[in-house]
Symmetry: C2
Subunit: 333 residues, 2 copies
């Protein structure tokens, strides 16, 4: 869509040097005499030259693009990961080129192919749920790949995240130690959100080990949201009024649950304890800070970028980075 923009050749002519010299100045590569450099720089300035990266990318068979595949932008968690990615990228001159899969492996596959066609330096994906074709494309292209959020499975190359199963387990232990025994679970659709399910499984394991079991359970048949959490807790409480703690699939749901308690006049913690997952700001700004587990979304994005850019070729060894988590005691449990 551009037009007769100035090219390397124009800059070179004006500066009285060869094209490759201009190229070197632009990329800060190779030794350049200060005098030439500044001559070139001023030529660039006066012409308003903007390099054409398509050409550069073609010539060097590589790009300064990093492909990012996110399942969704509706869940605040992924913009936060993207923010971490962006913060690590900012210093480097790389740009993220993003696609949204809507939790659909087939969509992921088609978007991946379209991202790969830009010869990205690396690919960042979410989770381990890929089609066979996706795996093949990744294998053929040999780009480095990071799979984020989760470390409960075997990665293609690099995994950065936390063990959701273990986080769920530890949350269960924590609550059991605090004396709760009649557990309710308030969840959302986990066909899409596989990690919520892993936390659920971890929780159940902890209960079983303590000779307990889930006392009640309600799952909203859609994505998580404050409103879903509010309504689903209402349903849970009306079906099983005697639960003493509600564990939510995440903080959004838990904040909604908190609102329900306010409305229904349920004394939070005294009569019903609430526990979330993620450690979002909104939960911590509640009149009673939410008891939850802090996951490090920014860090996950940041580390993924660092690790991807660190090495050159994809090594034989797979890499798993555990960004950990931390139980926030809070005031709701």
């Amino acid at each position: 869509m551009l037009q007769d923009m100035p090219t390397l050749t124009d800059v070179a002519r004006l500066a009285g040097v060869s094209e490759i010299t201009v190229s070197r100045v632009v990329r800060n590569k190779g030794p350049i005499a200060e005098a030439t450099r500044s001559r070139v720089l001023s030529a660039i300035e006066t012409l308003g030259y903007v390099p054409n990266r398509a050409a550069g990318s073609l010539a060097s068979s590589g790009s300064q693009l990093m492909g990012v595949l996110l399942p969704s932008l509706s869940n605040i968690v992924f913009p936060e990961v993207l923010r971490g990615i962006h913060s690590a990228l900012a210093a480097t001159g790389y740009q993220p080129i993003i696609g949204v899969t809507d939790y659909d492996p087939a969509a992921e596959q088609s978007i991946l192919s379209s991202l790969l066609s830009w010869q990205p330096a690396a690919i960042i994906m979410t989770g381990f749920d890929h089609t066979e074709a996706t795996r093949r494309m990744l294998a053929n292209s040999r780009v480095r790949v990071a799979e984020l959020m989760d470390i409960d499975a075997d990665p293609i190359d690099i995994a950065v995240g936390l063990s959701h199963r273990k986080a769920g387990y530890d949350a269960g232990r924590h609550l059991i130690e605090r004396g709760y025994s009649r557990f309710g679970y308030v969840g959302h659709d986990w066909d899409a959100d596989r990690r919520a399910r892993l936390r659920y499984e971890g929780l159940c394991t902890a209960l079983k080990e303590a000779g307990l079991a889930l006392h009640a359970e309600q799952r909203f048949a859609g994505p998580s949201s404050t409103i879903a959490g509010r309504d689903t807790l209402a349903a849970l409480v009306s079906a099983s009024p005697d639960v003493d703690v509600a564990v939510f699939s995440n903080d959004d749901m838990a904040v909604g649950g908190f609102f329900h308690c306010l409305t229904a006049g349920i004394a939070v913690k005294e009569r019903l304890a609430l526990f979330g997952f993620n450690g979002l700001d909104i939960g911590q700004s509640l009149p009673l800070p939410l008891s939850t587990v802090r996951s490090n979304r920014l860090l996950i994005g940041k580390i993924a970028v660092e690790k991807l850019l660190e090495g050159g070729e994809r090594p034989a060894e797979k890499l798993i980075v555990d960004t950990g988590y931390e139980i926030i005691t809070g005031a709701t449990a």
Copy 2:
């Protein structure tokens, strides 16, 4: 970073046709016999061919990329705009390539130059606050540009958004009609967020016209957040206990204010009314749905893409699309 990936030539050889025929099949362009098409398609399949868009872009001097410049990813509003952009793009085969400016025009300029180097089909930016160099680059490149969120100034090409000044004014009128008279304003840093300031100005105009003025005012010296809203309202109320309505710079701040009222035992609406801006889900899921103004973030992103892709060349006429807003009466004012 790729390696010996198959190219058009390989596909052509395997299918027994010329390169250009393969190219035509890939791009669905020009007349192709069904027989050849399927032969080519299966060759593509067996080789696992992925087109190289850098080459395509170079040859055709255009790309299927849309540059998106966002001021921030921390404020939920911008991921939502991005979601609108993405939803409109999804059908088209375009990919967004994004940059985050942190509200800094100089950063915007450098990121823009880096985005332009990919020969994007169009550019989406936020607001009207650009450096001179930015304007020059945009003029030279001749790409179509949409400036989002705001329509209170003269756009380069297309503006999509709403009049924040008018929204602030209407909010003021609405509250005055409901009988409030001792207005407090709870804001955040508006050096960055120019639109918050426009709303503030609109509010002040409405007050002045009614023979009123702001009774009290507190501005948090940082970005908006629930916690900032909570603490800043606390400061406002302690300095001026007699305000009867608090107008917040946005919903995040207002939700924080609501939490403060809960904690401090202030009867919302009876003793102190609360009013926000944006119409976020979180505000509407409060025990008392927040009184606020709905801005249409998804729509803004969506329309921007549609308008950008609609025409070919940049026309002489500038285009301004008002996506409007709507006062949500809610229950907090």
